[in-house]
Amino acid sequence: MNFYLIYFLVAIAIFGFIATFSLVSVYAERKISAFIQDRLGPMEVGKYGWLQTAADILKLIQKEYIVPALADKVLFTIAPVIIFVAVYLGFVALPWAPSLVPASMNIGVFYVFAIISVEAVGILMAGWGSNNKYSLLGAVRSVAQMVSYEIPIGFVIISAVMISQSLDLQVINYNQGILATQEIKFLGFLNVNHIGGVLAWNVFKAPHLLVAYVIYFIASLAECNRAPFDLPEAESELIGGFHTEYTGLRFAFIFLAEYAMMFLVAMLGVTLFLGGWNTPLPNIGSLHLADYTTGTFWGIFWVMAKCLLVVAAQMWIRWTLPRLRVDQLMTLCWKVLTPLAFACLVVSGLWRLILLSA
């Protein structure tokens, strides 16, 4: 029975992490936006406003559930749960440190990719269930965008997987540092199995993956429906998009899913391209920095540090760039990112065949 107890504890821990992360990152987002727009941001609740988001969530919990009279009540109620659970399930496969992963599976990458696509159904459900034209338009836009951007994301993920030769996220992690079981070559020629550090990360093992990571990052912003791809909730055109009609805790769940999604795509990208829980510090001569900074605690530390940096970049972009038009969005996806992703895939194949087999 202990066995099942651990499962529950892991599930609760992941949920707790998502909730804490959302609280902190909403505060961070408001402060970053304030800094970029030369304001102060929240300053009233607590010193420097650091209790602001806690106050916000208390307010959200107390609010009344309002279901529009003509809404499809069943779909309207289930939708936020499906949106959140889709993202929540994605966290199951992501490794935090050597030998610390909630569920180890040999098709982890594919699993995360598959489970994220369920979110689209939840969003359509919310849009249709609300029985509101703005919600429906927002949902249709959102789903069209997510389905389109899944294609470049899929191809860059495959090009990273071709370099790593595994779909198991934990194996991908292992092979980007000093604990690797296969041979790692920096830029394809220099063996760095014992040096590790930043030189062993996928983006430096095969430099075309840097391009792939940029594609992944752009497309993941669109997957999260974040600016500059936030057309689904463009408040000047659609009021609030698919979550216009939601109040209280249901809205909180949609919001939680959005922030969890930010962290999820950041973590998947970090794992596939930026070394996951591996340390960026290499072994230099007799100074074994990489050996010192590899372990369970360090693994969690490096994953958190890298992911939070990526999330900070997502926020920075949100408050810097203007929103794209629908046609620009589709042009970017189909005419720029998808061909580039295909090119990355071909280069990965050639890299594997020519450089690594020799």
């Binding site: 099942y4 599976m105 594919f110 598959a114 696509s117 159904v121 249709w128 789903v143 779909l167």
Partner: protein, 182 residues
């Protein structure tokens, strides 16, 4: 009964019940969303058959692709054509439903016949595979096997499917293209 069996029966029940709802409901959107539940629980059943790759492919292709496509088709179809559908007489043995009912009953008979005729434990190929140790275990990495087979034994079908999909893509792009002004 182990926890696996409980989960199996729960998934099977959900698949059957939601499938029945999909067919019986008069509420089209809800039945499309219920189809999502059916597909998901069938994906769960695939996991029990040690076909985790197929299960995930089911989620990607059907939930992320086909279901969204169905919903879009539903959202874009005109109200009149949907109302026309409701005018179809609803008796079980009406002219519109009789062929479907016959086919369904015949198929069910066939499935039941196979189920009761065959002793699944003692089939020749199953016993010989067991004897040779030609089995997939829970801990095996099935995906490597799938990849190698797709790229060697089943390369021709794979390539034929990709050519077919290519043709579909080109055709779809051609249909969606802006019509030249005559």
């Amino acid at each position: 009964m182990g926890i696996e069996q409980v989960i199996f029966y729960v998934l099977a029940f959900i698949a059957l019940a939601s499938g029945a709802y999909v067919v019986l409901s008069r509420h089209l959107v809800r039945s499309v969303f219920m189809f999502f539940v059916t597909l998901f629980s069938v994906a769960g059943l695939y996991v029990f058959a040690l076909a985790d790759f197929v299960a995930l492919t089911q989620v990607v292709i059907y939930v992320g692709g086909v279901l969204v496509l169905l919903l879009f088709a539903f959202l874009l179809s005109s109200k009149e054509s949907l109302e026309g559908m409701e005018k179809i007489p609803s008796g079980l043995l009406s002219a519109n439903r009789l062929p479907a009912a016959l086919i369904a009953i015949a198929f069910m008979f066939l499935l039941g016949y196979v189920l009761f005729q065959i002793d699944f434990e003692n089939l020749d190929w199953i016993t010989s595979a067991k004897a040779n140790g030609n089995m997939i275990l829970v801990s095996d990495n099935t995906i490597r096997n799938i990849g190698i087979n797709l790229m060697s034994k089943y390369l021709l079908p794979l390539e034929m499917i990709s050519i077919l999909l290519m043709m579909v893509l080109v055709g779809a792009a051609n249909i969606a293209r802006r019509q030249p002004k005559v």
